[in-house]
Amino acid sequence: MQDIALSLLLFTPLLVAFVVLFLPSTAATAFRYLTLAVNFLQVIILLIILRAYDPALALQFVEQQPWITLDLGSWGVLKAEYFLGLDGLSLPLVILSVFVMLIATISSWKIAKNVKGYFALLLILNAAIIGSFTALDFLLFYLFFEFMLLPMFFLIALWGGPKREYASIKFFLYTLLGSIFILIVMIGLYTSVHDPSVTGKLVHSFNVLHMSNATNFISNSILDPNNVWQIGWYTARQWGFLLLFVGFAIKLPMVPFHTWLPDAHVEAPTPISVILAALLLKIGGYGLLRIAFPIFPDSAVYFGWFVGLMGVISILYGGLNAMASKDLKRLIAYSSVSHMGFVLLGVASLTSEGVAGSVYQMFSHGIISAMLFLLAGVIYDRTGNRMIGNYSGLSTKMPGFTVFVLVAFFASMGLPGFSGFIAEIMVFLGAFKSNSINGPLHESLAIVATLGLLIGATYYLWTLQRMFFGPYNLKGNLSGAHMPDVNQREYSMLLPLAFVALFFGIYPQPMITIIDPFAKHFAEFVLSAGKSLMLNP
């Protein structure tokens, strides 16, 4: 079980996806239940994994099989592996994925149009997401990374809102552009990295762990740390870092590469925006933590201030935009931009608090944003309209709904007692401390970033005031729309999310024990390695 757990997690959805493809498209309910079954199966596997997982160890559930081994004659051997593993970074995200995917399936229950295609794509997406969170081979990671695009594209473009085509194309364009940047660096990396385990012949390895070790670089290759290969203003390594950074920042998304997000969210159907916000954005952060920073520690230290700055800018800019947006989903989308800014800030701090904070933030934002989008979906289901201005005084008609909205909003604005607070406070502590342990960030960044909390509170409270308080009425063409309170199905999605957000806000220890070793190691490694490498040339 130990050694195939991840593969099971990964391939069950794929298999079922094919089953779904070959079933007659009339069996709509069958698809739903199949997908649900897959999700539950994944939950079970995950529980087994959690039972066996030992936070003390670095990398576990490793599956390493040779995948592509190609003799390139004079250039040595190209070696890509089927290399999966779990550590303090990937496990929280895997937990998140499994959980959110389950929620997403439940919330897709009402999908009526071309059910077969929908659930097939959903399952493929599921596999791709799990894969990209567990892959430790760059090629494998890239495979899953790209593999998410098409299903997402079609899910938005086929089941989306009125402007779905524009939104989907935009999404696709942006993400593909990012992945191209990543591809460039990937080519450079695997050509300049060799596998130390094989002696005698030159083996170009895609193994991320090998790439993260400066000694594995072939001497005088372009990306060799001991070799200054100047291209324009920066060295090749710095360019490589920047390209990776931009590639993942687009996914994150970071200002100014974020404009695909609001459109995609606004147009996507509810379950898809849930997945988009809760999982896809995390892959950006994951990539930074797994690939960009460890592989280019020197450049990471060199550009750390810049990363942090962009994080702060995203926090404030996203918040301000959220304040100005009239569409509920758009507001939430921008708030996501703002919250993912914290991830950047925490990572850039290179302190273990900061890093732990940003991983924690990824997890908690996953939960909370999922909840937010579900809530927006609840309204949208009722009226088919998301304009904040069209509602007021909903609290009188939908008390239960209002309670959830209150929970979600306050959780999202970082009220203590919810997971968001723990994450943000740790990010702040780390970012502020960074300078004192000669990390890359200056205190002022952390101080400026705190304004984000105020802005967040502002737009959420304002929305509450506009939509839920005051006398009840519906403006626009919705007047007289029937507004029933949340129903069973919606409860079954919202309650668990709320509970999780609350639990990890009050008692973060379980998650922290998983994250902390990774964060500690990461911060120390990147900082020390970066410093030492920067001294070298």
């Binding site: 995948w67 592509i68 081994t69 190609l70 003799d71 390139l72 004659g73 004079s74 250039w75 190209l78 890239y142 495979l143 790209e146 593999f147 695009l149 098409l150 079609f154 473009a157 086929l158 085509e165 989907s168 194309i169 696709f172 364009l173 593909l176 552009l177 191209i180 591809l183 460039i184 080519i187 450079g188 695997y190 050509t191 300049s192 290759s221 372009i222 291209i231």
Partner: protein, 493 residues
């Protein structure tokens, strides 16, 4: 007169390496003859020609070793080696596939016997072109390909078909005249017609003369016209639009690959192992950037699938050139890999375009809702387009990865900025290409057309398509299957 005897014996011996070509030649005669005696039996002709192509394929594949060992034939006019042998295999496969496509054509192909005769002539020309090491051979075989293609392009026997073949003819003859002029000058400078010979290279070693550059450039221009790479590309969209679908599929693969093959040999010769004072690498990079740009960007506007594919093939030749531009053994190998994948992707897409055409889907807009009507076909063709774009998990991605790897290596060796630019540029172009490659699937799946009844899924196209798709996936997950073989090829000038 004794040496004459030896020569004749040598020629007799060389014939044993010429079985595929002989098969094709006799095939031409046979087909023409069949055409004379019975006109109606189209399927018979198809069968016969498929058999001929297949036998030419088998005669190479079965005793691969014999063909793999380098061998100067006919007094050094041609050399049969594994590089050319591999390309020959690709030509034959392409010919077989297009014959199948022809057989699947709903409206029967007129003058089928001549049609196949021309096709065989092209394959024959391609075979000899990639083998030839002598400028005369290059010229003659190239002309054989060209002249046959001019006529084949017009085989839709329609107004547009005539126009297409006219344009092809005029452009082609000018291009070959330019190339020929270049050849003559090269002959003048080196005093030999054998561009693989030592003296040819020696004469050029460190030759710093503009005349030489002009000559070589003119020669290369001729090859570029065959490859349909910028700046010699403008004929291809018009020709492709007019020609029947199998012919396009055929022309977009065979002459192109033949041209790439000979260009590889030729450019390495004139580059004279990097001793040349002219930076041919730079030139190739420039050409491939041009082709990528023109092909991709111009394709964005097309409303007609054929034209779209024409521009796409221009861009694809840009990618093929990338492999050569690295000027390294491995780069050539990757180019061969790319060529093989390109063949598969191209035929996948074209066979489906023909399939859709038979249902009257001739403009992009008319594909609306095709996803509902032909679910299988649409999904499979989607994979084809994804492969052309170069996204995982298709071999298209692997091929791009490989060629760009060779580029990176070249950059690492030479440190020429242009190579880096080509790398970035080519990859960015991938994003651009996405726009038009995904347009047919976009219409097919996302635009909703009039919902008509589902078409039959059990068609030959779907069978072939599925096979090709499986190949593409397989070659992504295990490129070693093909690469292992290609890597054995050692490319010698």
């Amino acid at each position: 007169m004794t040496d004459l005897k030896e020569k004749l014996e040598l020629i007799g011996m060389s014939l044993s390496f010429f079985i595929p070509e002989l098969v094709l030649t006799s095939g031409i005669l046979l087909v023409v003859f069949l055409g004379l005696i019975k006109r109606e039996k189209d399927s018979l002709l198809t069968l016969v020609s498929i058999l001929i192509f297949a036998s030419s394929f088998l005669s190479i594949a079965l005793n691969w070793e014999a063909y793999a060992t380098p061998n100067r034939l006919f007094g050094g006019l041609v050399r049969s080696d594994d590089f050319s042998a591999y390309l020959k295999l690709l030509f034959d496969i392409a010919a077989i596939l297009s014959a199948i496509m022809t057989w699947r054509k709903t409206n029967n192909q007129l003058h089928l016997s001549e049609y196949y005769a021309l096709m065989m002539a092209i394959v024959l020309g391609a075979h000899i072109l990639v083998m030839s090491t002598n400028l005369i051979m290059v010229f003659v075989s190239l002309e054989l390909i060209s002249i046959s293609s001019y006529m084949l392009a017009g085989f839709s026997f329609s107004k547009r078909g005539a126009e297409g073949s006219l344009k092809y003819f005029v452009f082609g003859s000018v291009a070959s005249a330019i190339m020929l002029y270049g050849f003559t000058l090269l002959y003048g400078f080196t005093g030999t017609l054998d561009f693989s010979s030592v003296e040819f290279v020696q004469q050029l070693l460190g030759k710093n003369s503009i005349a030489f550059f002009i000559a070589a450039l003119m020669a290369i221009a001729g090859f570029l016209y065959k490859i349909a790479a910028a700046p010699m590309h403008p004929w291809s969209p018009d020709v492709y639009e007019a020609a029947p679908m199998p012919v396009i599929a055929f022309l977009s693969v065979v002459p192109k690959l033949a041209g790439v093959g000979i260009l590889t040999k030729f450019i390495l010769a004139i580059n004279s192992f990097g001793q040349s004072t002219v930076d041919w690498q730079f030139l190739l990079c420039l050409i491939s950037i041009l082709s990528l740009t023109i092909g991709n960007f111009a394709a964005l506007w097309q409303k007609n699938p054929k034209r779209l594919m024409a521009y796409s093939s221009i861009a694809q030749s840009g990618f093929l050139l990338v492999g050569i531009a690295s000027f390294q053994q491995q780069g050539v190998h990757f180019m061969l890999f790319y060529a093989s994948i390109y063949l598969l992707m191209n035929f996948l897409v074209f066979s489906y375009l023909q399939y859709f055409e038979s249902f009257g889907l001739t403009t992009l807009a008319s594909f609306s809702g095709a996803g509902r009507k032909f679910p299988w076909a649409s999904i499979l063709v989607l994979v084809g387009f994804v492969a052309l774009t170069g996204l995982p998990p298709t071999a298209g991605f692997t091929a791009k990865l490989f060629v760009f790897t060779s580029l990176w290596e070249a950059y690492q060796v030479t440190g020429k900025e242009i190579l880096l630019w080509l790398l970035i540029f080519g990859l960015i172009n991938t994003v651009v290409s996405l726009f038009y490659y995904l347009r047919i699937p976009y219409y097919a799946f996302i635009k909703s057309g009039e919902s008509s009844e589902k078409a039959n899924n059990l068609t030959v196209e779907n069978f072939i398509g599925l096979t090709i798709v499986l190949c593409l996936l397989l070659l992504f997950f295990n490129p070693g299957l093909l690469m292992g073989w290609i890597n054995k090829i050692n490319f010698v000038l």
